[in-house]
Amino acid sequence: MLRFSTALALVLALPASAEEFNFAVTTDPQTMDPHAVNSAPVLGFLNNVYEGLVRRGKDMSIEPSLAVSWEPIGDGEGWRFNLREGVTFQDGSAFNADDVIFSYERASSEQADTSSWFAPVSEVIRVDDFTVDIMTTAPNPIFPDSIANWMMMDSGWAEANDAVRPDKDQGNFATLNANGTGPFQIVSRQPDLSTVLEPHAGWWGDVEHNLTRVEMTPIQNPATALAALLSGDVDFINPVPIQDVARLAGNPDVQVIQGIEARVIMLGFDQQEGGPSTNDMFLDPAAREAVARAVNVPAILQTIMRGNAEVASQLVSPAMRGYSDAEAAPYGFDQDAARALVEEAGLAGQTIEFKCPNDRYLNDEAVCQAITGMLAQAGMDVTLDAMPVSNYWPELRADNFDMYLLGWSPGTFDAEHPIRFLASTPNEEKRLGSWNFGAYSNARIDELLPMIQSEIDEEARQAMLDEVAGIMQDEVAYVPLYVQPLVWGAGAGIELTQRPDNFFILRWVTVN
């Protein structure tokens, strides 16, 4: 309760020249614990407070952070990380190898939501105060990429505050408080109301921003957020509703920053024999191709997305590592071909149950309605069932669909990620195909995945990724539609950097 008055006192005490920055978010990060919830709002925000061994630059490339360098050990037995010296946490304690070991144990524990990042790790060895070896069960070329969001916590702080393990259920000290090495520290946190940050004076890096105080406020209603930006109550909002973009473009007080997100929106199909929905029509690749040919993606992008997205041909966007240039051609709209395929697959006269979320992706329900109409024109009979996302996932898990809409953003920014989650034959034990709701299965892809995961030679690896992309295109495993756009809004004097992972990095913000 003291926090209110403390925050007020801070505001009153600030000099007039201070560069204050207020921004609105749609979803308040549900925790300040970097290992408790593996979701974009949490990781994106905490990237300003905590840091990992490596981090992503403005172009998403991996660059040194708390490790100054790293190299593979032997023939791919693991990776050696050389840590940065002289780094301090926000409470003043020093960072060293013990904190890395502690953060590994914490982030890979059963209670953590980040444990899947460490599935390939067999052991973490402390070589000396500033050297750590992370051993893997098999050669793992993309391991440094996969831990860009693995954030370092201070072992002493966690022990002193009884937060040695994350607690999703009851919460603990780390749920509301943070102590990272990052450029900003939290000075007050009221969940769902406001979070105030100030620069961390002892940060090791070169300061590029000119912020002295940052306040984050959640605003769920898009119209309210837009009004807050227009009236200058906030300096930044994400996202800007797509239908308002054109109107904002003519306003000199605000700027719209547009980019392409890492997320690919696609259609998936029920491809298991029998099952709860006894409709086996999409077992036939011709039926799936009929859908692929019938959907006019450019038209959807022009009308619903108002020219703000790009057509996709694979489960990853061209900006991702391992994107296959060889398989870059999308299916292409061809209504006559679609009609012929409908006949060939015997789709006429069957009702396709199409499930769609209405609060998960940008304009998701409108896109699904457009698709429903396009399929009808090609002679398919589609019933659309749109619902909130908290009802949507249970519905997909219960196999209550013939066709569904899915968006996928690879956490590792590598083409291997969707293969593991969407294209592998579902296998609970091996933790494969956990989002492959339609149970698409191809023996060759299952065989290639472990090879892709452990291939160190870039060229050989890309050849295998090309092969997978080719198989998935030929079999129409999914119908990739488009890469979702990012639309941010900011005040006229704000300079910032937009990254395709939709993370808002405060150290790149300047207020003029």
């Binding site: 919830v37 969940p191 769902d192 909130p388 609970e428």
Partner: protein, 322 residues
Amino acid sequence: MLSYIIRRVGQSILVLLITGLVAFSMFRFVGDPIDNMLGQERTMEDVERLRAQLGLDQPFVVQYYRFLEQALQGNFGVSFRQGRPVAEILLERAPATLELAAVSGLFAIVLGIALGVFTAIRRNGFTANFIMSASLIGVSLPTFLIGILLIYLFSVELGWLPSFGRGETVDVGGWSTGFLTESGLRALILPSITLGLYQMTLIMRLVRSEMLEVLRQDYIRFAKARGLSDRVINFRHALKNTMVPVITVIGLQLGSIIAFAIITETVFQWPGVGLLFINAIQFVDIPVMAAYLMLISVMFVGINLLVDILYAFIDPRLRVSA
């Protein structure tokens, strides 16, 4: 009398239990909280473990029983979304809603009575007719639209008032109040008008019709015949008798102001319990939803119980026949 009160209290508790059960069984249709709590890279194993940990693998009747058992001890569980005790969150959010409800209630009562009396006395005047017609627009526009219109006019176009939030708050003995800071008071204006507008028109129309009714009574005619001034007749004699039914309605409306603050709070990002409830639905935060719904039903059942008991005091016949 005592047996009547006991019977009514018993009925109220039954109503509460049934409301709770209905609300609780509805949670199954709101969705599954587990997906919101775990990230993209979760496994089925994680899902099952968390489900068991939260007791969500139990039948809903068992979950409801556990909830009641805990709630009776003042424990409403831990929010799935925030990982903090629900009671703590509700207490933190309550001041915002209560202050908003109080200000908009005051706005509705003062303006509603004043305009009601005015339109009754100047029954055929131009201004009175204009107010009556304008009030129709106020009633028929949805709250959401009124809020957005006010924001666009007073925040975006004119820049006079903040577009969202509560402004600065000051902590007074555990109660965070917006009454003591300038930005807090400014932030109250638009949401209070939005929330109070409907109640205001309701009170105005009620006062007007009651007042017109009273003004037709014989004692008013006698008062006029006695040569009393209009002022004394209207405000001392007529208004006093008008107020009896009006006060009853105002009492009941205050409860609905608190309950229906949800839309206003969403439009203005007002950090009260209504907004908390909306967020809880999106996240399927069952402990928060359950506690909020119970709180609101306790409030309504309590108000009704109080009204019934008061009526029984006034009219003894009710005690026997009930």
